[in-house]
């Protein structure tokens, strides 16, 4: 921390703190309320994901990818599975692709709901958090219906899915979407346009576009700064090119481009886009097609390496898989979007007040499981 001036106080926003979204220690130099320097300390939730992956076979890696970003584990599976299928040149049939897109987009809605809710909670608004959890509960019911689990699914396998959709899935999802659509506008009015919320988030923690790109920030945080970069459109994978949805970008409606409010509003619009995608995917869902059809009996990818990125709710989720021909990965590196989002905290957070720094941390929407792996 270097030398501490007379009136400055070193404060540990410690591993056990209500606003750190997990186990993260922010060592902070404050002078009264104004925070001059933030040094994040991580590693409290390090479970040696990459070392584990070197000792388990390719099918057994999937439950581990679930546990990295436990709020969006469907998209974590999706990223790993897309990377593996590109490495092994497997082509899955359309039904599997559509089910995967439906599941990934529902998971994006659920993860954004919790991200926005926790952001509101950091600023003191309790009720929106619980309203959003109530709607997230409905999405978890839909996941539970298909793969039995509510948080860590192990549903998408290399070459297909573990289970086909149960009867009544399409009606349940359509009921949910019809019920959910008006609720998003309610969130926007209850939280988004509330003057105190705007006062607490507009013009705070602004992240200019070059800083975001140079710090490798991706996802809603980058789009909040005005850069139109969404992997589903710019580096398309799976069948995202069959759906028309637009990529919301921060326009600085309530302050400058790239402030906390923009990141919040980009996430709200992304929820609406995901709802549109799920609707289109459901009515184009092919009835026939076996979900186990393209699954190899024994997964032995050819020797070689691949780096594949997919769009997780927090940004570019990259898998670097190096295989040496055997059935266990030689090296598996997961590029975590929240890891780079946290690295920008000191750059955009220094100089603000204590309550703002926690607001900025909330607006970056980080998950410590993914950062510490």
């Amino acid at each position: 921390m270097g030398v501490v001036h007379g009136q400055e106080m070193v404060l540990n926003i410690g591993p056990q703190h209500p606003a750190t979204h997990g186990v993260l220690r922010l060592q902070v130099k404050t002078d009264g309320e104004i925070i001059s320097e933030i040094t994040p300390y991580m590693g409290y939730l390090h479970r040696c994901f990459e070392k584990h992956c070197e000792n388990v076979t390719y099918e057994q890696v999937i439950p581990f990818t679930d546990r990295c970003d436990y709020l969006a584990s469907m998209t974590m599976n999706f990223g790993y599975v897309v990377a593996m299928e590109q490495l092994m040149e497997i082509k899955v049939n359309d039904r599997v692709e559509y089910i995967r897109v439906i599941m990934a987009e529902l998971q994006r809605i659920a993860s954004h709901l919790l991200g926005i809710g926790a952001f509101g909670l950091d600023l003191g608004a309790f009720t929106p958090f619980l309203h959003m959890l109530r709607d997230r509960e409905r999405i978890l019911d839909i996941f539970e219906m298909t793969c039995g689990a509510r948080l860590l699914y192990n549903y998408m396998w290399v070459g297909g899915l573990s289970h086909d959709l149960p009867t009544g899935f399409v009606e349940a999802t359509l009921n949910f979407l019809d019920y959910f659509e008006p609720k998003v506008d309610e969130f926007e009015n209850l939280l988004g346009h509330n003057k105190i919320f705007v006062e607490r988030t507009a013009d705070i923690g602004t992240m200019p576009a070059e800083v975001a790109i140079s710090y490798g920030v991706t996802g809603p945080n980058l789009r909040g700064s005005g850069v139109k970069w969404d992997l589903r459109k710019d580096d398309p994978y799976s069948i995202y090119d069959r759906f028309d949805f637009n990529v919301p970008v921060g326009k600085g409606m309530k302050g400058t481009v790239g402030d906390c409010w923009d990141r919040f509003y980009v996430r709200i619009q992304e929820i609406r886009e995901s709802v549109k995608i799920v609707r289109q995917a459901i009515d184009q869902l092919p009835k026939d097609g076996d979900v186990h059809q393209a699954m190899p009996k024994k997964i032995r990818p050819p020797k070689g390496s691949i780096y594949r990125r997919t769009e997780s709710p927090r940004g570019d989720l990259g898998y670097y898989i190096e295989s040496d021909g055997s059935d266990t990965p030689y090296r598996l590196k997961m590029r975590s979007p929240a890891f780079t989002a946290l690295s920008v905290l000191n750059e955009i957070g220094a100089g603000w007040l204590m309550s703002d720094v926690l607001g900025i941390l909330g607006s970056l929407d980080i998950v410590l499981g993914e950062i510490d792996r």
Partner: protein, 358 residues
């Protein structure tokens, strides 16, 4: 129920037996014990109300007494009692490096601050413990003891978070007393006295004779008073001293068990005091809205309590809707918005009464 009424009554019975000293003590002790009983019952009711209202607002159902064996009673009615018992039985930890005497003193001081301001609250025609002729001034003066105890709690627990909480609460409560006081001056200008009972008697007659409807400036004064009263009791959107998501629990971080219960209890007691003052000064105290209907002294208590509970409901309702203000915005709102509005209000009421010389 004033102290002197009780004193005369008792001195007739026992005058010959014992000197007038003990009788005076007894006649003071009995209302205080009754007051203490009232506060505990009120606290249980308002904790239950906050529990249920917040759950319904958040689309939850709150404790419903499900489960076997010892549970929270039908519709969760036993939950407040369970909370109180838990706080009583919980171990009282005093941090080793804390400033022990101050640490122990702080919760009592905040409770005393809240408790003694009940004395001047008018509950009914003659139901008031001490009918002081400077009632309103006394309540405002006593209300500021809470500031001292919050700073004391913040400083003595020797913890950075509570230091933050203590400093923030000092700045907040002291600066919000000014707009509260200024907006009460409007009431004093109209009623002409500081005595709480006379202020209420001034508002006799139906709903339109209340001070609230006296002239167009008073509703603004009511809103300013009500919001700064919320700030004084550290309720959202001004609950910065013990904001959960930033300062862990602000000044109350190191407190547990019975001491924490005192902070909790005094926050609710303060809430009752400020809404009772608002009800008495602006909403006609124990007068019923329709002059003839249910206006007897007994019913007066009902009107007074129901108006106060209505204002408490609004405070609870606000708490579960709004996010929290930042410290500098808090100060900004107080000094740049409430103060000018309160001053203009006084000016406006003065001109209005001169022109229409009621």
């Amino acid at each position: 129920m004033t102290v002197d009424f009780l004193f005369d009554f008792l001195s007739e019975l026992f005058a010959d037996l014992v000197g007038s000293g003990p009788v005076l003590i007894i006649s003071m002790l009995i209302p205080c014990l009754m007051l203490f009983g009232f506060i505990t019952i009120y606290a249980l009711i308002v904790i239950y109300a906050e529990l249920k209202i917040s759950s319904f607002i958040q689309d939850k159902v709150g404790p419903m007494g499900q489960g076997v064996g010892l549970h929270a009673g039908k519709w969760g009615l036993l939950q407040p009692i369970a909370d109180a018992l838990k706080l009583l039985l919980k171990e009282d930890i005093i941090p080793s490096r804390a400033d022990k005497p101050l640490f122990i003193l702080a919760p009592f001081m905040i409770f005393i601050g809240a408790f003694i301001s009940f004395v001047a609250l008018p509950f009914g025609e003659s139901i008031i413990i001490a009918d002081l002729n400077i009632g309103l001034f006394y309540i405002l003066g006593v209300g500021s003891i809470a500031v001292l105890s919050l700073i004391l709690a913040g400083w003595s627990s020797n913890n950075k978070w509570s230091l933050y909480g203590g400093m923030r609460s000092a700045a907040q409560i002291v600066s919000y007393e000014i707009p509260a006081g200024l907006s009460l001056i409007v009431v004093i200008m109209l009623a002409g006295t500081l005595n709480m009972q006379d202020i209420i008697r001034y508002q006799a007659g139906g709903i339109f004779s209340w001070i609230f409807f006296d002239n167009p400036f008073v509703p603004i004064a009511f809103v300013v008073y009500f919001i700064s009263a919320i700030a004084e009791t550290n309720r959202t959107p001004f609950d910065l001293p013990e904001s959960e998501s930033e300062l862990v629990a602000g000044f109350a971080t190191e407190y547990s068990g019975m001491r924490y219960a005192f902070f909790f209890l005094s926050e609710y007691a303060n809430m009752f005091v400020v809404s009772a003052v608002a009800a008495a000064c602006f909403l006609g105290g124990w007068h019923s809205p329709i002059s003839g209907f249910m206006d007897s002294p007994a019913w007066g208590v009902f009107w007074m309590i129901s108006k106060t509970f209505f204002l408490i409901f609004i405070m609870i309702w606000l708490r579960w809707t709004l996010p929290r203000l930042r410290v500098d915005q808090l100060m900004n709102v107080c000094w740049k918005v409430f103060l000018p509005v309160a001053l203009i209000n006084i000016f406006g009421v003065a001109i209005w009464t001169v022109i229409f010389n009621q």
